[in-house]
């Protein structure tokens, strides 16, 4: 029994993984058992043999070139922010900023106080007449959609007021779907439009051009952040051919599977992960889903994928 235990733990002893009391027992037994002593010598011989193939050291040039390449890649990389991360206030980070920028804080307070005091003083003077605005030149809303007021300036010696503002002028663009100008507008519509029908139409047109990196990024963004599940499904449809080869697409689809609130989107996402079910990050997610997911279809599909790749462990 003691010999059996000793032989089972010879590897742990060799790699210095035995707890102190077990190590004492092991060494004590080795001193009195020739058989186990031979076993230990054989194991130590094995460890010595393994040193015949050491891990190669990294050449300094190779390391330097990798660092440079990473630096360039980081310039274009974006950090992921979770949906809740956009709303959760990081108090610790805020405190850190305040701690390290007291001067800026003080300046902001002084400027705010001074500005407020000055405004109050000028109003209290009561000598300035209300600013008169010549309304005669403002047209009807249909002709003159005002986007923003940029500045208001008053002449202290007169009632003259100058207001600078931007206007919106409705326009129409027509052209082929491959026209770069049209594509640019479609990308804008996919991201910024309040009307979900407009976003849906733009994603529908863009999904056929996912070979373009900018379009693919827009589809990924729609999958991650669009409020409308129809838009997210459309985006998934456009990304399906890139799950295997583009790791950003794979990550986005995985996130949709794990976090999307719509069961249809999740079902579609899991079906797209079939070609990459052997990937370790996918398998990790599938293991969690197979045990805990409340959606029976997702749970069953995860178990099916894991079963078909069990030989990889």
């Amino acid at each position: 029994m003691k010999c059996e235990w000793t032989k089972e733990n010879v590897v742990l002893y060799m790699y210095d993984e035995l707890p102190d009391d077990a190590r004492f027992e092991f060494m004590h037994h080795i001193q009195h058992c020739e058989d186990c002593k031979r076993e230990l010598e054989a194991a130590q011989g094995f460890k010595q043999d393994m040193s015949a193939m050491p891990a190669p050291e990294v050449a300094p040039n190779f390391l330097a070139s990798n660092r440079m390449q990473l630096q360039e890649a980081l310039e274009h990389a974006q950090q992921n922010r979770s949906f809740w991360g956009m709303f959760i206030f990081d108090f610790a980070a805020w405190m850190q900023q305040i701690k390290l920028a007291p001067a800026l804080t003080a300046v902001l307070l002084i400027v705010g106080f001074a500005g407020g005091s000055l405004t109050t003083w000028r109003l209290a003077q009561g000598t300035e007449s209300p600013v008169a605005v010549n309304t005669g030149t403002i047209g009807t809303p249909q002709d003159y959609n005002i986007a923003a007021i940029n500045s208001i300036a008053t002449d202290p010696d007169s009632n003259h007021v100058t207001i600078k503002y931007d206007t919106l002028r409705p326009q129409t663009a027509e052209g082929s779907a491959t026209d770069p100008r049209i594509q640019e507008l479609l990308l804008l519509a996919a991201r910024n439009n309040r009307n979900s029908d407009v976003r849906l139409d733009s994603i529908d047109l863009l999904k056929g051009k996912a070979q373009d990196n900018e379009v693919r990024d827009a589809l990924i963004s729609a999958l991650r952040y669009d409020r409308n599940p129809g838009v997210r499904l459309k985006a998934l449809d456009g990304l399906k051919s890139y799950v295997k080869n583009d790791v950003h697409v794979r990550d986005a689809v995985l996130e949709a599977l794990l976090h999307d609130t719509n069961p249809g989107v999740r079902s579609e996402a899991i079906s797209l992960l079939d070609p990459v079910k052997a990937d370790s990050s996918v398998r990790e997610a599938l293991e969690v889903l197979a045990q805990h997911d409340s959606n029976e279809y997702i749970k069953a599909q995860s178990q099916k994928y894991l079963a078909s790749t069990a030989h990889l462990d």
Partner: protein
């Protein structure tokens, strides 16, 4: 615009390997380096790229060494390196300080290396050589300098044969066995840490190491 943040110089060694020492000096040093890492991580989470690059510098040599030994190819090791750190940069916002950054980054790297090993499982594996970036095959043993005066050619030949046998024996391990053996034997990590990195228990890592060494010893036994 994020406020200016001070970037602290970390005191972790170049290999990134952290062995827990009993001496109080080493413990204080580790605690300090963890504090320094925390500052860098928080800065990186706020989008400070310089802070992230400082973090990378602490661990990237060890990461590249691991990737190179596992993949046997400089281009593949480069891919693992780039993908690992880009992934870390994209997801650093999810790091919650529940483990060390070292464990977290190695978790990413080991997953990528496991993917690589699984993809290669059906292909012919290492022959004890490494493919460098120009596509040339370089014998691993050439990188080990033999400083002894009057080095024995016969012994060198035996060493090369043993190296080939070892390379062949390593290919017969499953990806997980190979990974555990690599992290224990070549990288010198504790089994508990290996378990954390591979998202499993220390006990499972122990059993995997045991299986891996048994297989390797059987394969190398005829050489002794």
């Amino acid at each position: 615009m994020p406020a200016e943040t001070a970037v602290f110089q970390a005191t972790v060694g170049a290999s990134g390997n952290k062995r827990y020492s009993q001496s109080s000096g080493a413990m204080v040093s580790q605690a300090l380096s963890r504090v320094n890492d925390s500052e860098l991580i928080r800065a990186a989470q706020r989008g400070d790229r310089a802070a992230f690059e400082s973090l990378v510098r602490q661990y990237d040599q060890a990461v590249l060494r691991l990737a190179l030994h596992l993949t046997g190819s400089e281009p593949d090791a480069r891919d693992v390196y780039q993908e690992a750190f880009l992934k870390a940069y994209r997801h650093i916002g999810n790091f919650r300080f529940e483990c060390s950054f070292y464990t977290w980054i190695y978790r990413i790297v080991t997953n990528l290396c496991l993917d690589h090993l699984r993809k290669r499982q059906t292909r012919k594996e290492d022959s004890g050589t490494v493919i460098d970036s120009s596509g040339q095959e370089v014998d691993l043993l050439d990188r080990v300098s033999d400083d002894r005066a009057g080095a024995n050619p016969e012994r060198d030949l035996m060493r090369r044969e043993l190296g080939d046998k070892i390379a062949a024996a390593l290919t017969r391990l499953t990806p997980r066995e190979r990974m555990v053996f690599e992290l224990k034997h070549y990288q010198g990590l504790r089994l508990r840490t290996i378990g954390e990195m591979l998202n499993t228990t220390e006990e499972t890592a122990k059993n995997t190491l045991f299986r891996a060494t048994q297989k390797l010893r059987s394969a190398l036994a005829p050489m002794r």
